[in-house]
């Protein structure tokens, strides 16, 4: 578990605290669906897309990437980054795309169910 990171906005939440590791996988897959990114880029995008609510730490991001790579959902290769340095870029494989759409559907179903429960209560 990642300890709470100080210094940032009080509203931001470290991902490990809220979600099981699998949900972080889903978010990573989503960010990579558009274009290949390096680790920093992924973290940045998740932060942006969640309006700064989710913040990703090294200790949760890289093991997750490692898992996804191992499972053949993403491919990694070293490439020159935008500022001319070398960075490890991750891109979604066909299996990654399939997993993403499956997980997304399931998540949406679950979220809708939870929402409807919350509405009725």
């Amino acid at each position: 578990m990642q300890r709470a990171a100080g210094g940032a906005s009080l509203l931001s939440i470290s991902i490990g605290d809220l979600l099981a590791a699998e949900k972080l996988d889903l978010l990573i897959l989503k960010t990579l669906a558009l274009l290949p990114l390096h680790g920093y880029g992924i973290a940045k995008r998740i932060e942006q897309m969640s309006d700064g609510v989710f913040r990703v730490t090294l200790g949760s991001l890289y093991p997750a990437l490692q898992r996804l790579e191992r499972d053949g959902l993403v491919l990694a290769e070293w490439k020159a980054s935008e500022n001319g340095r070398r960075a490890r870029y991750y891109r979604l494989t066909a299996a990654g795309h399939r997993r993403l759409s499956a997980e997304q559907k399931e998540w949406e179903r679950a979220a809708a169910a939870i929402a409807s429960i919350l509405r009725t209560t």
Partner: protein, 886 residues
């Protein structure tokens, strides 16, 4: 899948490099964030500090990556294994029971698989074994299914057929081998010139026979070959045993039947034709005019390229029909049958083994079902844990893996123990299964070990999956409000367990039904009267040679003296001898046409009878009753009128009304003439080749009038006949040191061998059935106990509202009975369908024999016993205690 495996392998191999890469990657990440913060105006040191705070410790992250890389499959596996081991250790009795169950199942099935694989499935160790066939003569009109072929027809077959690449003949008999002053009787085969080439086997040392050697070797049945330069080929085992595996044996001379013979070759190890114990091969040249009515030759042939068995058989039958027209006197009614050589060697052992394999598979299924039941019942207690872990994000896959680990460990241990058990079982099977052909070839080979692995994994899956699925399907959010549903019994929760118990009981029912059919059949088999009394009889086959005992008078004298001497031994009640004894495989045994003298031309009364030469006192020695007239005695001397004794069945057939004695019977000895014989007596029918075969028509001739070289000597004693063996050996040695007996056997053992397979199958199946019943009862007990535990609350309430103990007992035992009855119905249906499988093994017993039904009906009673304990526990539940706890 492949790429995933590859990347895992790479992870392991290059983990150092990957580790450095991760380090670089993390540093880069940190650097990028630092740079960004610098852009917003912070100095470098401060930017770096904040970035680190925000991102966490890169060293810890690196550790986590490393863990997630290797950890997944090795670390997690070890963790799961440790967890499973702890759980198993906590319940040693449960674990031991499961391991033992699997070990027995795997061990038994592997041993049987090895036997079936070696005996039934493995091709013969001969070139292109599929094209080798046995040829039999058959005469359906006379009720002769299969018998030997004749040397006369053999030559015509060769010339008139095109479907065969070769047809060879051979004849097996015991011959005395003398080496270094020590004589022993060895089984030998005299083989026609093309015997080895038809089989496609050459000598391992030296050569087989030349055409010239074969042509010169003319036989006079029991004698050694009459050839100016006798030659012999040795079997591998004999060469090793008696000649010390001498590589220079070719050219050496050995003595067979008192004749020096030159060794020309040694057969390769593993050559087991015509039988494994045939260790001496002699050439055999057929005479100019070989007989067409002496069916003693064994035929073996190789089909030509492209010829099918059916076509070859059709062609040969056509030739046989032509020959029957050309030689009606000898060939009338005779046709042929072709049988694949492998089928012929394995014979009906195939069916026996397949039945046993089926049975052992059923036991394995029951064993697995039981382990599944036990761990299911146990794992249900872990449902809350599973739910919790799933809610915490543990994947279904991971839960499944974790819960499969336990049965996997149990099965692997069981399987590992099963292999030595299989080796032990195989030794036992070999010891008691002498009736099974090719058993000597069987061993725990790679295939059998592979089978053991597969059986083990199957056991793991079958025993683990039900429990694992049940757990992995656990409700991720255990709802305390669901508890009342549990109280009401929730039918579906139990469907799996009850299904397993029902299946278990059904398998047990099938086994019990099969076993009781075989027990019944065996009882009927043993109840058959063989027509003689084998108890207390010792048998000594003696093979005299032409060289020393030719001409009749000498062999008559030898056997007369031998019988006289043996009769004088202490403890001997009676002694006699016959060319062939019931249940004894050695000795000449042949049929001749016979008819009453007064109706010479009436084909309808002509019968084929088996001819036996016997000494005086033979009937008394064997305990064959004399029905009318007398047995042979001194009146039947060489110079007296020829006399004959008939078996009762033949006497009734030829001389209806019991008027046989005093009439005359004609026996057609085609080679030596056709003479009338005075019928002096009628004796009881004898089941010559075991209880399954009907008694045959037999005639007995006095040895004094028709001396024979090969005789089986029998001695009756009041005690254990085997104790006579040393004295008998001594007498034989004194009479002629070069003529030892071909082994000494207790007749009861020989007769027992004819039942051996039936007894064997019955015992194995009965023990399988017993195991299956026991296991299924354990299953019933387990399920009911668990249910009682689970429903303690309901039981408490029932007691509180006034349910009596008797009522509770009825309730629980009723549930057990319901399961058993369901299994009974399914099992009975199944065994009716499977009855066909065992019907071929049964003797005088219908596959739907009521005995099987009766045995099966006992199962519910046993089930009642098994459910008593849980029922009793239920009845003793204290209402107050339960309600307070609930």
């Amino acid at each position: 899948m492949l790429s995933r495996l590859w990347s895992r392998a790479r992870d392991l191999a290059w983990s150092d490099r990957r580790d450095r890469e991760t380090q670089d990657e993390l540093a880069e990440h940190l650097e990028l964030l630092t740079a960004e913060k610098e852009c917003s105006g912070l100095d470098r040191a401060e930017a770096r500090r904040q970035a680190r705070l925000e991102l966490g410790n890169p060293e810890e992250a690196r550790e986590a990556v490393r863990e997630s890389r290797t950890g997944f499959w090795l670390d997690a596996l070890l963790k799961d294994m440790g967890y499973a081991l702890r759980l198993l250790r906590k319940r040693p009795a449960f674990t031991a029971a499961c391991v033992l169950t699997v070990a027995l199942g795997v061990g038994a099935s592997t041993a049987l698989f090895a036997v079936v694989g070696g005996v039934v499935l493995k091709p013969l160790p001969l070139a292109d074994p599929g094209s080798l066939v046995r040829i039999y003569d058959s005469n359906p009109a006379r009720g002769v299914e299969r018998t030997g072929i004749t040397s006369g027809n053999l030559q015509d077959w060769r010339q008139r057929t095109r479907s065969f690449r070769g047809i060879a003949g051979h004849y097996t008999m015991g011959r005395t081998l003398t080496l270094g002053g020590e004589s022993e009787v060895v089984l030998s085969a005299q083989v026609t010139a093309d015997f080895f080439s038809v089989l496609g086997v050459g000598a391992a040392l030296g050569r087989t026979f030349t055409p010239e050697e074969s042509r010169m070797a003319l036989f006079n049945s029991a004698a050694a070959p009459v050839s100016p330069d006798p030659v012999v080929v040795l079997g591998h085992a004999l060469w090793r045993r008696r000649l010390g595996g001498d590589p220079a044996v070719v050219g050496r001379t050995i003595v067979v039947e008192r004749r020096p013979m030159r060794v020309v070759g040694v057969m390769p190890d593993g050559f087991a034709m015509p039988a494994p114990d045939v260790q001496l091969f002699l050439p055999w040249g057929l005479p100019e005019q070989p007989p067409r009515d002496q069916h003693y030759v064994s035929g073996v042939a190789r089909l030509g390229p492209g010829a099918s068995l059916a076509r070859a058989e059709a062609e040969l039958r056509g030739v046989a029909a032509t020959l029957a027209a050309e030689y009606p006197r000898t060939n009338e009614g005779w046709s042929v049958r072709l049988v694949p050589l492998r089928e012929d060697l394995v014979g009906d052992a195939r069916q026996t083994l397949l039945v046993l394999l089926l049975a052992v598979a059923l036991v394995l299924v029951v064993a697995c079902a039981n382990v599944a039941l036990l761990s299911l019942a146990r794992n249900l207690e872990r449902l809350p844990e599973a739910s919790l872990r799933q809610a915490l994000g543990a994947s279904r896959e991971r839960l499944l893996r974790q819960f499969l680990m336990e049965p996997l460990l149990v099965s692997l241990t069981g399987g590992a123990l099963g292999v030595p058990l299989a080796a032990l079982g195989l030794t036992l099977l070999k010891q008691v299964g002498a009736a099974v052909p090719r058993l000597h070839e069987v061993g725990l080979d790679a295939k059998a070990l592979a089978f053991a692995c597969v059986a083990t994994l199957l056991a793991a899956l079958v025993s683990g999956l039900p429990a694992a699925f049940r757990l992995a399907r656990a409700d991720p959010a255990p709802d305390p409000a669901a508890a009342p549903a549990r109280l009401a019994g929730g039918g579906r929760r139990h469907a799996l367990r009850e299904g397993l118990v029902v299946a278990e009981v059904a398998m047990a029912v099938v086994l019990v039904a099969g076993a009781s059919l075989l027990v019944r059949s065996y009882q009927r088999l043993r109840a058959v009267d063989p027509g003689f009394d084998p108890r207390g009889v010792l048998v000594a086959p003696v093979f005299l040679d032409m060289e020393q005992y030719g001409g009749g008078e000498k062999s008559r004298l030898y056997y007369a003296t031998l019988v006289e001497r043996l009769r004088g031994l202490p403890g001997v009640l009676a002694t006699g001898a016959a060319t062939a004894l019931p249940a004894s495989p050695l000795g000449p045994d042949f049929e001749r046409p016979v008819w009453p003298e007064q109706s010479p031309h009436d084909e309808r009364v002509r019968r084929s009878a088996w001819v036996r030469m016997v000494t005086t006192d033979y009937f008394r020695t064997l305990g064959v009753p004399i029905v009318s007239g007398r047995g042979f005695d001194d009146r039947d001397s060489p110079r007296a009128t020829r006399s004959v004794i008939l078996s009762e069945g033949l006497a009734q057939r030829l001389f209806p009304g019991g008027a046989a004695v005093g009439r005359r019977l004609v026996v057609d000895y085609s080679t030596t003439g056709t003479y009338p014989y005075d019928v002096v007596g009628v004796v009881g029918d004898v089941r010559f080749s075991g209880p399954r075969a009907e008694p045959r028509y037999e005639i007995y001739l006095p040895h004094a009038q028709r001396p024979y070289l090969v005789m089986n000597v029998a001695l009756r004693t009041s005690g254990d006949p085997r104790l006579l063996a040393p004295a008998v050996r001594q007498v034989l040695h004194e009479l002629d040191p070069a003529k030892p007996a071909h082994g000494l056997y207790a007749l009861a053992d020989l007769v027992g061998a004819t039942y051996a397979r039936d007894r064997y199958v019955m015992q194995v199946l009965a023990s399988f059935a017993a195991v299956a019943v026991l296991l299924s009862l354990v299953g019933v007990h387990g399920v009911l106990s668990h249910r009682v535990r689970e429903r303690t609350r309901e039981i408490g309430i029932r007691i509180a509202v006034g349910a009596s103990e008797a009522h509770l007992l009825r309730w629980i035992t009723g549930q057990g009975l319901r399961l058993v009855l369901a299994g009974l119905v399914i099992g009975s249906t199944l065994s009716t369908a499977l009855a066909r499988v065992v019907s071929g093994l049964l003797f005088g017993t219908s596959p739907l024999d009521p005995a099987a039904l009766l045995a099966v009906a006992a199962l519910p009673l046993l089930a009642l016993v098994a459910s008593l304990h849980p029922a009793w526990r239920a009845a003793r539940t204290s209402a107050a205690e339960v309600l307070r706890a609930g």
